[in-house]
């Protein structure tokens, strides 16, 4: 069984500044995958970044990076140089090794102020 918790229902950031979204998870799997998805008002689910649990190096994708703390079961998302288009719901998710069970957190709504 897997659980994913996002403790921040809403966050706001000034344009061009940096913001960090928190996520903790729990899983009985020895190998698993972690994801951040973005859901803009259009409702599309867009993959932002992904991390294999066996890799110690934190994943980065342009302005997006993660801080993966395996022992603490923490997987936070850092958005640098925030842009207005980053405003959306962000969901943290954990997948088992087989990839057939993806568990989502409750989401964090990110607002970007101009």
């Amino acid at each position: 069984a897997q659980t994913v918790t996002q403790s921040q229902p809403e966050m706001s950031v000034q344009e061009a500044e940096t913001v960090t979204l928190s996520c903790t998870y729990d899983t009985s799997e020895s190998d698993y995958y972690l994801f951040w998805y973005k859901q803009p008002p259009s409702r599309q689910m867009i993959l932002v970044i992904r991390q294999e649990a066996y890799k110690q190096q934190n994943a980065t994708e342009n302005r997006f990076s993660v801080n993966f703390q395996k022992a603490a079961k923490s997987f936070s998302l850092k958005i640098s140089d925030s842009q207005l288009g980053d405003a959306a719901m962000y969901f943290c998710a954990c997948a088992n090794n087989a990839g057939n069970m993806l568990t989502f957190g409750g989401g964090t709504r990110l607002m970007v102020k101009p």
């Binding site: 994913v4 996002q6 995958y33 994801f35 259009s42 409702r43 599309q44 689910m45 993959l47 992904r50 294999e52 969901f91 997948a95 087989a98 990839g99 057939n100 069970m101 993806l102 568990t103 989502f104 957190g105 409750g106 989401g107």
Partner: protein, 114 residues
């Protein structure tokens, strides 16, 4: 390359009516999923399939049925619509051969039961 296509995008049903939400993918993915997203919440897994002819229950399967006769299609059936099934429904697919196993999502179906 269309990815994951869901139809319809919107639908209003009366209590007790039945309908089928269609989902098709053209990426030859083995795994397909149905999620529901209630307002302000994360996604919850309804059913999933690891291949044609194989389906299994997720977290919230009650009131729904699925079938998987082909690799491409994974329809979701509501037999007796209830107000509690008002939600946005997402279909997704993934391939076990992809190392990081991201799921590709359709654009969602907004369903209201009145």
């Amino acid at each position: 390359n269309a990815g994951v296509t869901q139809t319809p995008k919107f639908r209003i049903l009366k209590i007790g009516q039945s309908m089928t939400l269609q989902c098709t993918q053209d990426m030859n993915h083995n795994y397909m999923y149905w999620y529901r997203q209630d307002p302000g919440m994360g996604l919850k897994l309804i059913y999933y399939s690891v291949g044609a002819g194989i389906t299994d229950k997720g977290e919230v399967p009650n009131g729904y049925n699925v079938s998987r006769s082909t690799t491409e299609d994974f329809p979701l059936r509501l037999e007796l619509a209830a107000p509690s099934q008002t939600s946005v429904y997402f279909c997704a697919s993934s391939s076990p051969s992809l190392g990081l196993k991201p799921q590709h999502f359709g654009d969602g179906t907004r369903l209201s039961i009145l």
